[in-house]
Every structure is written in structure tokens, then in C-alpha cells.
Amino acid sequence: MMKTKRGFIFSIIALSIMLSFSLSTQTLAEEVTGITLEKYLEQYKGVAIKDPAYIAQLEKERKEYGISARDIQVMNLYYMKFMQFKTWDVAFGRLPLLREDGQVRERVVTRQQMTMPPESGIEVKGNFAFLSPNEVRGMKALMITYYSPTKESDYWMYVPSLRKIRRISAADRDDSFFGSDCTWADAADIKVDEEKHRILREAPYPTQWDAKIYDEPDTAAWEHVFDPSCAGKVGEERDKCQGIKNNYPFKFPLDPGRKPVTDNLGPMCYVVESIPQWPTYYAKKITWYHKDYKFSLCQDYYDERGRHIKYFKRTYIKIGEQPGVPGTTWSQNWWFVKTLTTGHATFHDVISQVANTPIKEYQFTQSSMVGTGR
């Protein structure tokens, strides 16, 4: 009898708490300010560069090209970090890991991000979670990056098998990002002045579609992105294929017949060489930056012997506040990275993404990393 009474009182109290909180939810209106490109660039103006030769080179580039390689990289980071959005929400993304022998390990992920006001000192807060397969389901990463050019980013990872949150050292940025070919540094966590940048030339992005991608085994892994009839075509024939005009909502089964954005093909680019100033696995990186938008379309990594060890390709689409409806702001769509030394590749297909959804800051806290059933 005592237990029955206790259980009843207990459930009434709990129910009341739940309801009172739910009613006050609507009154919470947390505005997060997005940051403009101009504001973002300003952050980097005050940073003193000490190498006079590098300063002179950047000055020379400004005269010659109207922009320096370093400025291009800052602008690229602006897009890579989605700084133009207040919030960014990828409800579903696929992350197949592709072995050289054709075996595919599929990953389904979800990702969210929030741009913080500059006065907080925090640039963005982001999270990244695995929905499948079950071996990694519930694994979640929390990332905080800072405006300060010297302050390292902070990472935490929730490990469902331990039901514990683990701290990850930011200095381990050469680590694989959850088994992919992407490192933590590739996941938009590299400071501008951790590399020295130099414009090599201006050149049109190769209109011939990179056959290397189509040469990858098991193209079925991403055939829903491309029109299969485009596969294997090169040159003008390839350019006739239609590009993606907008992003798509997530559906089962995945829609075949999606096509890459043709804007990736042919635009004028700045070709920039970046030499890392920190001990890392590559000695040189060549990036093709879209001349108008400054986002990177392709990056080639070379080791100290000059061997081509990795390439990273990105595509961009314009997204809005509704999934499946084109918007006005550029955002990354799918990307593909291949480690040439192992033949292993990773493809990330952003299936559904929206901008400026009412995500709240609590979703980027350790207390919210423990999901239901994890």
C-alpha cells in the first residue's frame, strides 16, 4: 500500500514538472547572432604575423590579385565553418567508408551547428552523431571552436558502450575523424596561420570531370547523388549533365538520379599552396578556391617527398530554411576524400540540410550528449 501511494505521488510530481517545463518552452526565445563575412575577416586583421618575407609576399599578392592567399583562406573558413548561418542542421548525412577492394561500410550521421556571438569568444558550437550502424550508433561528438587564433578547439566524445563522455585532445587533429579519411583538422579545425599560404596562379577549374571519382569501386555507394548516365563521361559530354539545383529531403529508399552541381566545373579559381607550420602528415597542400566565393573545391595533399597522398573534393549548393527547397546561401553539399596511399576513401553525402532552424544552445552541451537508449 505504501509503495502504491508513493508511486502515485511520485508520478504526479514528475508529470507536473514535465508539463510546467513544456508550457514555458514556447517563451524561450534565444536569438543567436550570425556573423557577417566582414566581421569574420576583422577577427584576423589584428593578428600579428612575424615573418617579414611572408608579410611581403601577402602584400605583393594583394597588389597583383587584389587579395592575398591568407585572406582567401579566412574567407574559405567562413564558408567551411558555416559562419554565415545562425544555425545549420543536417538531419541526415551518409558517410560511406569505401575500401579499395570495393567493400563499403555505411555510416548515417546527423550534424548540427550554431554560430556564437563574437563577444562570447566562441566561434561555433557543433555536434556530430552516428545514427547507424549499430556498432557506432549513439556515438556523439561535441566541438567548440574559438575566435582566438591561438586557442585550441575543445572536443568531447560520448561513448555509448561506456556511457561516458571522453575528452579528446585538440592537438590530436591528425587523428581520423571517426574512421573516415577526414582528419579532425580537415573537419574545419585548422587555424589560418597554422599554414603559410601562397597564390600560385589563377586558373579555371578543370571542366573535365575528375575521372578518378568515377574510377572508384562500387560507385553505387553514391549513385543517388549523380545521374548514373553521367558516370564515366568526360569533357563536354560530362558538362551536359544537369547539376543539383537544391537539396533534398531524406527519404527511404534513397533517391537515385541526383546530380552534382555543375558550378563546380569550370569556374575561375585561385590555386593556392599552403605549407603547414605544425608537425603533421602532409608537407604541402594545393587548394583550388572558387574565385568569386572563395570556397575550396579541391585540395591535394603531398608528403615531404612530393608524393600525392590525398585529395579532398567538395561541392556546394544553395540552401534555405526548408529541406528540399533551394535557398539563398551557399553551403557544402557532398564531399569526397581519398587517401591515395591506402586506397581508402570516404564519401559524405549531405542528404538533408537546412539553415537557421530554431536549434538552441543546450543541444551543444555535455548534458545533452546522452541520448535516449544510448
Binding site: 508529470l15 561500410r105 575528452r167
Partner: protein, 561 residues
């Protein structure tokens, strides 16, 4: 399962269902607003086989009770009770070094139903079914128990199947519904009500603050925490009390449900030596009582009691967590307080039998003289005790090193002392005392993908009482106990990270080791295979060393769905 427990269980499930549907009724304007198009019901889990083989034989521990301090004149005979205790002990044995140790098939299925899935408001129900069948005793006669025996008592050899994880067998149902709770998440709070696991703490392998739930220790600490942690009916509320600083939270835990640690049964392979002494002693004193070996006046009683499930007996906890932004990066911290039951019982000796005097409740001991005549306890009472645990944790990155640590100050914890030497009122072998446990650890990755992790763990008894012992064995316990752990793991790029190795090494400064190397292979996305070993080195009665005859090689095959 008793009828009483069944009634309580059905009542709890009913309350949960009423709450879920009530909440749905109030929130139907948002219900089923699945913007992502994701199906509301998710089901996933795995089936797994884990097999292990001994690589040492085990004749059983002879003369488990060797207490000589109070009777030095008796030489190897030792304390008068020792003969009976040793003769009636029942030991696990392993006849051959390649004997099958485990053939465990487990099934784990999780179900998640999202009732409400708005961007900033979620309501879900989660359930987990977990069961296993260990068929080892149907497959081998090489492992089992051996008893010395005395006239009229059990003796000979037998099958440990009656003791080893028998109540986890599929024929019983008590623990098959493993978790069942409702989650409600909004920006201000996360509320979880139902049968659940609550995990506190930062460290691996040792549990300093991870004391909220009891554990199933019948396979020592080798089981995954997911399987060995025992869920309880409870409420867990995380309240983000500052709107502009949501990374700070207060957590309130309320557990009206009592569950005890599941300990090893007599004769099981993972019975710790202290428990072997308890089981043997219990058997010996019952024997003496049954056959009136001392006197007709001697009566032995073994009492066991669990706390009633009342509000007063509920466990409470509060935790404050946050992130402090510092120049070199963020510092994560928590401070906690837990008022809980110590889920392991403590044995209280309530009286002794003294020849010529009879039953005495207390005595003034004169070591070596008085105690020689204290032959046997008249009453042993196994009880659970309330403790206060104050805790703190942190994690912080400095350079390439991720540091973490936790500390626990436990008050009113029962500590075993030698009842025959510990002073003037030696009728009980338990003293209340305080302990301070802490751990400092690091994680570091080197050479791109070699993951290293190390920990130092120290357990300190504050103001340690004199003649402190490990338990009923009356082996001396030191006030400071130190362990080190080291983990290394590496996936192989050559095999596209689908093959990897790892090793755990734990060392106790008393001279004990636990080494667990492993190689794993992700055969496909759903199938994972592992081959590993558990190697124990050390002496009896030491935490890890006592299993030096349980070293084994194992395989694991897991299919996830």
C-alpha cells in the same frame, strides 16, 4: 520471481504508461511532427557468442583459512575454527588447462519509440531486453567444485552449473526486461523516469563515483558495464538552470528501488577468496550447530536482510556540472553528493560462543589467550549500510594530453577489522570509517593512431582503525591501496581500420597484474570477431591476483542488427 515483485513491477509499468499517454494528450499539437521523415520506431541490438578456455588448471585453494595470530602455540593448526572451515570449504576446480570456461550466448535488443520529436521538445520511450544462456556446464565436466567434507556433510566433486550464473539462465525472467524508461527533453531539462542506468564518473575499470547502480559481479569485472550494471527504477532530472549558460546543470537522482550487487555463488569460477571463506565458515558453523560439536548450548544463525523499499530507504543524489572557459581551453567539472546504500553487504558478528561460559555478546580481549577460547560466532548478520559519497571530477586538455580525474570521499563506510584483536569490544568485525579514493588519468594519441591511456588509482582509508582486515579471512589490509592501469590500442590502416589490436594492463603495488590483449576484426558492417586473453598474476586474497588460476583465452563473435 515472487508474486510481490511481480505486483510492484506491473504497478511501475502501469504508472509509466499512464504518464506517457497523459503527456501525449497535452501535447498532441506537436506530436508526430517528424520533420526529418525518420520512422518513429527504432529497433536494434545484437546476438553474441563468447567462448573462453582456461589455460591453467586449478586444483582449488587448500586451507583457505589460515589465521594463526591468536593461537601461536598451535603451530600450523592455527585457530581452532580453521580445521572445520577448511574441511568444509567448497572450491572451484579446473581439471585441465584447456578446459572450456565459458560458452555464453547473449541477446540484446533495444527499442526506441519517439512519441514526440520536435526540434526542442522530445518525448520517447525506450526498452531493452537482455538475456544470456551460458551452456558451459552442459559442454564440459572439466570445471566444477570440490569439497573436502566431514562426516555427514557434503563432500566430493560436482558441477558448478547450479551456482554459476544460474539465475541469469533463460528459464528465469527477472532480469530479461533490462531497461524501460521514458525520456523527456526540452531546453531546460532532461527528465528520465523508469528502470534505467545512471552513470557518474570519468575513469575506466574502477568505480569510485560510478556507485549509483549496483553491479553484477558474477564474472568479476570482465563483463561489459552495459551488461553488468544493474538498472533500477529511478528518476533522473538534469536541469539546465541558467538560460544563457546551458552547459551548467544540476542533476537530481531519486532511486526508491533497492537492488544489491550480484555476488559470486559458492563454487563459481569467479568467487573471490573472501567469499569462499564466508561460504566455508557458514558451512562449518552450521555443521557444528547441527552435530552439537561444542555443546547443545551453541546455536548458529545466519541472518540476511535487505532494506525495505520505502521513501526513507530511497537513494538520493545531486550533481552539479559545468564547463569553465579558460585561456588554454575549457575545463569540464562536476561535483556530486550521493546518499546511497553500499550495495555489498557487510557481515556483522553478533556474538561468540566461549566454552565453559556460553554465548557472549562482547568480551575484553587479551590477544593470544582469551581469543583462543572464542570458538565460533553465534550469529552472523549480513546487512547493507548507508553511505554518503562526496565526489568531484574534471577533464582538461593540456597540449597534446587529455587529463581526467575523479575523487570520492565516502563517509560511514563499514571497514572490516579483526574481531579478536581490535580492542575491548570485539564482538563485531565492522567499524564505521571514511575513505578517500581518487584517480588521475590521461589519454593521448601518438603516431597518428596509437591511442594510449593511463591511470593511477589510490584507495585511502582515513584514520584507519587498528587491525584492519580484508574480510572474513582476517588477512591484513593496508590503509593505502594503489593500482595503475595502462591501455594501448591501434586500428590498422592497412586493413582499412577493420582490424585492430588493444591491450589493457593493470598493476597493483601488492604485486598483482591483469593483462588483457585483444585483436579484433570487423568482418562486415554487422559482424565483429575478437580473439583475446585475460591473464592474472598475483597472490590469493589480492583484488586481481586471486584469479591467477582463472587466466583464459577467449573468442567473441557478435552480430549486430
Amino acid at each position: 520471481m515472487s508474486a510481490k515483485r511481480k505486483n510492484i513491477l506491473s504497478l511501475k509499468i502501469l504508472i509509466l504508461l499512464v504518464m506517457v499517454f497523459s503527456v501525449m494528450a497535452f501535447m498532441c499539437q506537436c506530436a508526430f511532427a517528424l520533420e526529418t521523415g525518420s520512422p518513429r520506431l527504432e529497433v536494434w541490438g545484437y546476438v553474441q557468442n563468447e567462448s573462453a578456455w582456461h589455460y591453467t588448471s586449478n586444483p582449488g585453494l587448500k586451507n583457505i583459512f589460515k589465521y594463526k595470530t591468536v593461537a601461536p602455540g598451535l603451530g600450523n593448526f592455527g585457530h581452532p575454527a580453521a580445521f572445520l572451515v577448511n574441511r568444509l570449504s567448497q572450491q572451484n576446480i579446473v581439471k585441465n588447462r584447456d578446459s572450456l570456461m565459458m560458452f555464453e550466448n547473449s541477446f540484446n535488443m533495444k527499442m526506441l519509440y519517439k512519441i514526440l520529436d520536435c526540434q526542442n521538445q522530445k518525448l520517447s520511450v525506450f526498452g531493452r531486453i537482455y538475456t544470456l544462456v551460458d551452456s558451459v556446464n552442459d559442454l564440459t565436466n572439466d570445471i566444477g567444485w570440490r569439497a573436502g567434507g566431514l562426516p555427514g556433510a557434503r563432500r566430493g566433486e560436482g558441477n558448478a552449473g547450479h551456482y554459476y550464473r544460474n539465475d541469469m539462465h533463460w528459464r528465469t525472467t527477472e532480469r530479461i526486461p533490462r531497461e524501460f524508461y521514458v525520456d523527456y527533453n526540452i531546453p531546460q531539462m532532461d527528465l528520465r523516469i523508469g528502470k534505467q542506468m545512471i552513470v557518474w564518473g570519468e575513469i575506466d575499470g574502477f568505480r569510485l563515483l560510478d556507485l549509483v547502480n549496483p553491479f553484477d559481479l558474477r564474472e568479476f569485472i570482465l563483463d561489459d558495464y552495459e551488461d553488468s550494471r544493474i538498472p533500477q527504477w529511478s528518476v533522473d532530472l538534469k536541469w539546465r538552470f541558467l538560460e544563457n549558460k546551458p552547459d551548467q546543470y544540476l542533476e537530481f537522482v531519486f532511486i526508491p528501488d533497492f537492488e544489491a550487487n550480484q555476488i559470486m555463488k559458492e563454487g563459481s569460477q569467479w568467487a573471490v577468496d573472501e567469499l569462499k571463506v564466508y561460504y566455508a565458515g557458514d558451512r562449518a558453523f552450521s555443521y557444528v550447530d547441527k552435530y552439537n560439536l561444542f555443546s547443545r548450548r551453541y546455536h548458529y544463525e545466519n541472518k540476511y536482510s535487505e532494506p525495505a523499499e520505502t521513501i526513507e530507504n530511497s537513494n538520493y543524489g545531486v550533481r552539479y556540472g559545468g564547463v569553465k572557459q579558460m585561456k588554454g581551453g575549457a575545463l569540464s567539472y562536476t561535483f556530486s553528493y550521493l546518499y546511497t546504500w553500499d550495495y555489498s553487504w557487510a557481515p556483522f558478528v553478533k556474538g561468540w560462543y566461549m566454552p565453559g561460559v556460553g554465548n557472549v555478546n562482547s568480551h575484553h580481549s587479551i590477544p593470544g589467550i582469551t581469543d583462543l577460547f572464542l570458538l565460533a560466532p553465534t550469529t552472523i548478520e549480513r546487512k547493507y549500510n548507508r553511505i554518503h559519497v562526496f565526489g568531484a571530477t574534471f577533464n582538461k586538455v593540456i597540449g597534446k594530453w587529455a587529463f581526467r580525474g575523479e575523487g570520492a570521499l565516502s563517509l560511514h563506510k563499514y571497514l572490516a577489522v579483526d574481531p579478536l584483536l581490535s580492542g575491548k569490544n570485539g564482538q563485531s568485525m565492522e567499524r564505521k570509517g571514511n575513505t578517500l579514493d581518487y584517480c588521475l588519468g590521461f589519454d593521448r594519441t601518438v603516431f597518428t593512431d596509437w591511442f594510449l591511456s593511463g591511470q593511477i588509482i589510490q584507495n585511502i582509508v582515513l584514520d584507519a582503525p587498528g587491525h584492519m582486515v580484508k574480510g572474513l579471512s582476517l588477512k591484513e589490509r593496508k590503509a593505502l591501496d594503489t593500482h595503475f592501469t595502462f591501455v594501448v590500442s591501434k586500428p590498422f590502416k592497412r586493413f582499412n581500420d577493420q582490424v585492430g589490436i588493444s591491450a589493457l594492463i593493470a598493476y597493483g603495488t601488492v604485486g598483482e597484474w591483469w593483462m588483457a590483449p585483444k585483436i579484433w576484426w570487423e568482418v562486415t558492417q554487422n559482424i565483429k570477431a575478437s580473439l583475446g586473453a585475460q591473464i592474472f598474476l598475483g597472490q590469493h586474497y589480492d583484488t586481481l591476483g586471486q584469479f591467477n588460476r582463472n587466466s583464459n583465452i577467449y573468442t567473441m563473435l557478435k552480430y549486430s542488427f
